[in-house]
Symmetry: C2
Subunit: 163 residues, 2 copies
DNA sequence: TATTGTTATACTCTATAACTATA
DNA sequence: TATAGTTATAGAGTATAACAATA
């Protein structure tokens, strides 16, 4: 016999009334009110929707952010991109390898510092990025549908400290 | 010559004025207004603070969520915990192995279904969880300090759809 | 000496598949 | 047949360290 909602004696942590979750399965209880947990669940949802929405062009959130930053700041070095996005420079090497193999990005030797590369979008990369941005905008509309446009606006405002 | 803020013709997504980032280094431009990016940066910050704040007791966010759910719903099966938290059941095995090795959680053979385990906190686990919760509350206060108590409240409200 | 890009390694997390013992 | 727990493997992602070329 299944026992999905155990009736074993358990009291609320705080005085709050029981609020069954959406499916009416098991109460999260202690996790309600934890910002990190809420944010983690939301991030999983939003990344999955992004990946799904841009699946046809095979672009993941990190690839999109790399191309967007390069597109907005052509000539950046790898170090600058890595720092800006909080990516390890070792990992960026592989990310750029794959974007370069797809002819979306190119590494140009810097003439001011022969250790570093100036990063640029290829013409094909610029055209592609325009398409990616349209799909990303569609993804943002999914977020609007999920939490409401007004809440999305508030969320971006609250999190503006984390650019 | 560096070119950190290119003047290449690209207009703001919305009508908002340019807002240079905190360090005044390189503009994110195209990434402003993307909910997923903002949420990712915030999640990194909040998890790092959680890990730092609970470093003395060596408890990571996922371990905390597992213990909290078991504490609030004693007798849950591994499948139920995995589904509830969105963790792979294969991964939960290892998580529970380590929590059990630390005498925080125990697997009790279910008498109604001999395939499954009923999960419980040990007495030591219950005492520890109370301590973890105090540290987690301290972590939440850090979030308050970072974004403001009112914004934290709004954030939890907006993300309540993702329990 | 320090920094840029690169390579390599280890550890965590995610995603699967397969196996066992039960149901 | 299907499910719960387990084991194993492969792929991302993260964190380090070390190296060559250059500053």
């Amino acid at each position: 016999m299944k026992n999905p909602v155990p009736t074993v004696g358990k009291r609320r942590e705080n005085g709050k009334a029981r609020r069954p979750d959406r499916d009416g399965e098991i109460g999260l209880d202690g996790l309600v009110g934890h910002a990190g947990y809420a944010v983690r669940r939301f991030q999983i949802w939003i990344f999955q929707d992004f990946i799904r929405t841009l699946a046809a062009v095979d672009i993941k959130p990190t690839q999109y952010s790399v191309m967007t930053v390069i597109g907005a700041n052509p000539g950046m070095t790898q170090m600058a991109v890595a720092k800006r996005l909080g990516i390890e420079r070792a990992r960026l090497v592989h990310l750029l390898d794959s974007l370069e193999a797809r002819n979306l990005v190119k590494r140009v030797p810097s003439r001011t510092d022969r250790r570093s590369h100036a990063l640029h979008l290829t013409p094909s990369g610029q055209a592609s990025l325009r398409q990616f941005k349209m799909l990303a905008a569609e993804h943002e509309r999914h977020v609007d549908e999920k939490i409401g446009p007004e809440n999305r606006r508030r969320l971006l405002e609250i999190l503006s400290a984390f650019h």
